[in-house]
């Protein structure tokens, strides 16, 4: 007889996610992922000036503000046929890469690492041992005995005075924590360093976007003026500061983050076999070196891998009406044509239809719709999206950079390529991506600089800025690879206003409920087969769900089952 356990909410994520899992003989037999808040941003965008929508969609949540803004300006530019200047493309790449680096680093150290690192155990470490380990895995200079002894003292003081504070969310002492105290101390030290380095990374958003956390975007380019000699413009001094931050980011990603993930993963070999889940992976591709839309210039390739068959990359076509579709058969929405059809986002509908249990409830009624998240499919197939999906598509594409780093890291862990299809694989892919993208930031920077030095200061294409130049009706889509995965915005412009706006966000792909054929989405699929040591402390569920870097705030938004908005603040 299976026992149903509930994890609600899943902590250390943005937004509200509920997981229910059936456990039989200590193994998860089935799982249900439910977004218990609803998003309504599509409604805000309606009837607005399409040139302003980026500013509203950036408000979806506080974590990935600028990626929605980027996706929105791309959608409007696509609808109006605008090609932006090369400088603006590189500035967007740099801002997006900075967001990705910051997100990956913060996600690993501040949100995910505590699933694997026992902070309390770090207090028992011998700093000398930590120092030896640190020096054996990396050239990172902060590795002396004294440094780690100081960190240990600092953490002890902190815990004594503030009752764990930021560390209050762990399952400390759980037998599934396998790291020796010395490695725990190393990770805690880097937890603190990550907090520092992310402060610098995010400055790139401010330098190019004028402000943070909601940097400026512009339909047709970017809003920062370039002039190498003007003290108020993007001048050489500011650009060289960007170069410094890129270098700092690169060193941290390559000398701290990636070595740490490898060191931690080596203590959890069983987790290279758990948590794989789906066998299909999607990437819209991103980081153009040429114009946006010139797919062959993308650093992250576009494509789909079906059934883990890396010998063939299937195409992704955002305009195929039978390709990308969202279903609502298990979601609290209705479509004009009924519950069982799938709709392409260009004809998408957002009409709420709550039919779930009246709270407080013990379990979801999973025979009926059970989530505020819609279910996206590509040609009827469920897809995982995110850094792992990008790595699988990148590896399959034969790209040397993807192959080199993947082969090197897997050899280090002494595991086969199949090990990437796992909870550790997903975590490792994110760290490897941070390393790759940090190198690419150098490429974007050099291209920007050489373009400027050649005398091209253009940052904005104003050809179609005036609404009088627009057609009566226009339709477009914007695609990006957000830190968490593939993101799409679809816009309909009619009489100079937004007539329809639809967003398909990464966590919708991953966290959605079953489709009309009963196929699981990524979260649910990844949990099946996972052993759970103690069902009252389901650390194993959290480990796999966190490996996706879920962000529910944009998948759904602030709504409870009673139909009133709530704010879950007591959910620690």
């Amino acid at each position: 007889m299976a026992k149903r356990i509930v994890v609600d909410p899943v902590t250390r994520i943005e937004g509200h996610l509920r997981i229910e899992a059936d456990i039989e003989n200590g193994i998860i037999k089935d799982a249900y992922s439910s977004g218990t808040m609803i998003r309504g941003l599509e409604i805000i965008a309606q009837n607005r000036d399409p040139r302003e929508v980026w500013a509203y969609v950036g408000r979806v949540c506080g974590v990935c503000t600028s990626i929605h803004s980027l996706c929105s300006v791309r959608a409007v530019e696509n609808a109006l046929g605008i090609v932006i200047p090369p400088n603006a493309e590189m500035v967007r790449n740099l801002m997006q890469a900075a967001l990705l680096e910051q997100d990956h680093i913060v996600h690993f150290y501040q949100l995910q690492a505590l699933d694997w690192v026992d902070v309390v155990s770090a207090l028992k470490a011998d700093p000398k041992e930590t120092s030896e380990i640190a020096q054996s895995i990396s050239a990172w200079p902060k590795s002396s005995v004294g440094y780690f002894a100081d960190i240990q003292k600092k953490i002890k003081n902190f815990m004594d005075t503030s009752k764990l504070g930021i560390f209050a969310n762990g399952y400390w002492g759980h037998p599934a924590y396998k790291l020796p105290p010395a490695v725990n101390l190393l990770a805690v030290a880097h937890y603190l360093e990550a907090l520092e380095v992310q402060k610098d990374i995010v400055k790139i958003q401010t330098i190019f976007g004028g402000k943070n956390p909601h940097p400026n975007f512009l339909v047709g380019g970017m809003a920062c003026a370039v002039n190498i000699n003007d003290p108020n413009a993007l001048n050489l001094e500011r650009l060289s500061y960007v170069a410094e931050i890129i270098e700092e980011t690169r060193q941290f990603a390559q000398q701290v983050y990636l070595p740490d993930v490898l060191a931690i993963a080596s203590y959890y070999p069983e987790w290279t076999k758990i948590g794989g889940g789906l066998r299909n992976y999607i990437s819209y591709g991103d980081f153009p070196m040429g114009n946006y839309g010139e797919l062959q210039t993308y650093k992250i390739p576009r494509g789909i891998i079906v059934d883990r068959n890396m010998s063939r990359i299937e195409p992704f076509d955002p305009t195929d009406m039978d390709g990308l579709q969202e279903f609502v058969n298990n979601s609290w929405y209705k479509y004009t044509e009924g519950k069982n059809v799938g709709l392409h986002p260009s004809v998408g509908e957002t009409v709420l239809d709550y039919t779930g249990p009246t709270p407080p409830y013990e379990y979801l009624d999973v025979d009926k719709p059970y989530s505020w998240i819609k279910t996206p499919r590509y040609k009827g197939m469920p897809m995982e999206t995110g850094p792992l999906a990008r790595f699988i598509v990148g590896y399959a594409s034969g790209n040397e950079q993807y192959r080199e780093i993947t082969d090197r890291c897997l050899a280090h862990l002494n595991v086969p390529l199949e090990a990437v299809y796992s909870t550790v694989g997903r975590t490792l892919a994110r760290a490897m991506e941070a390393s790759l993208v940090a190198d690419w930031m150098g490429d974007f920077y050099r291209q920007l600089l050489s373009n400027i030095k050649s005398g091209d200061y253009r940052m904005f294409n104003n050809t179609y800025w005036e609404p009088s130049t627009w057609p009566k009706k226009a339709q477009g889509y914007g695609l990006t690879e957000a830190p968490r995965g593939s993101l799409a915005h679809y816009v309909d412009i009619s009489d100079k206003k937004v007539a329809r706006y639809q967003m398909v966000v990464p966590t919708t792909w991953n966290a959605s409920p079953r489709d009309t054929k009963g196929q699981h989405s990524a979260f649910e699929a990844s949990l099946i087969g996972t052993p759970v040591f103690d069902s009252s402390v389901p650390l194993e569920i959290i480990r796999t769900i966190h490996s996706f870097d879920p962000c529910l705030a944009c998948a759904v938004h602030l709504y409870d089952e009673k139909g009133s908005f709530v704010h879950q603040l007591d959910c620690m």
């Binding site: 309504g40 805000i44 974590v63 503000t65 902190f158």
Partner: protein
């Protein structure tokens, strides 16, 4: 002279939840005395700690859902993240972690909190409800009162 940041928090697209943002947007139109900056902080988060740490004092404005009449404005001097009331911006990795991260770094500005009781967060929208809209001058007065105290 000490550096002061007035930080508006909240979600601008959820009506009253955005009152903190509305307040700082209004303040930006007024002239401010030297050493005082204004920031629209959205829903807050770890990525903002670097900015906050550049100031000696931070005055945060945020909305809460409580039993007070909508538009009620009050002040608080929280120390730990657990001292914060049920603020709208206290998402799982929003304000709470921003505070806790600065505490663990042992580098946290002195914080005053101005709290506004909300009414309408049921709907998506950018307008404030009438009682909360009416409270905006009181919010400004409270912020100015705190600034005066800090300056004296």
């Amino acid at each position: 002279m000490s550096k002061i940041l007035v930080l508006g928090l909240g979600n601008l697209v959820l009506k009253d939840e955005g009152v903190g943002i509305h307040a700082v947007q209004r303040m930006q139109r007024d002239t401010l005395s030297e050493g005082i900056d204004i920031l629209d902080g959205g829903t807050g988060g770890i990525f903002m700690i670097g900015t906050l740490q550049q100031y000696d004092h931070v005055i945060m404005i945020d909305a809460t859902l409580d039993t007070n009449p909508p538009g009620t404005v009050w002040r608080l001097k929280p120390k730990y993240s657990t001292d914060y009331p049920r603020l709208m911006s206290a998402h799982e990795i929003g304000l709470k972690d921003m505070i806790d991260a600065m505490i663990v770094q042992d580098h946290i500005p002195d914080i005053d909190l101005v709290i506004v009781s909300a009414r309408d967060v049921q709907e998506i929208g950018m307008e404030l409800s009438p009682p909360v809209e009416k409270a905006l001058p009181k919010i400004m007065d409270t912020v100015n009162e705190i600034i005066q105290e800090l300056r004296n």
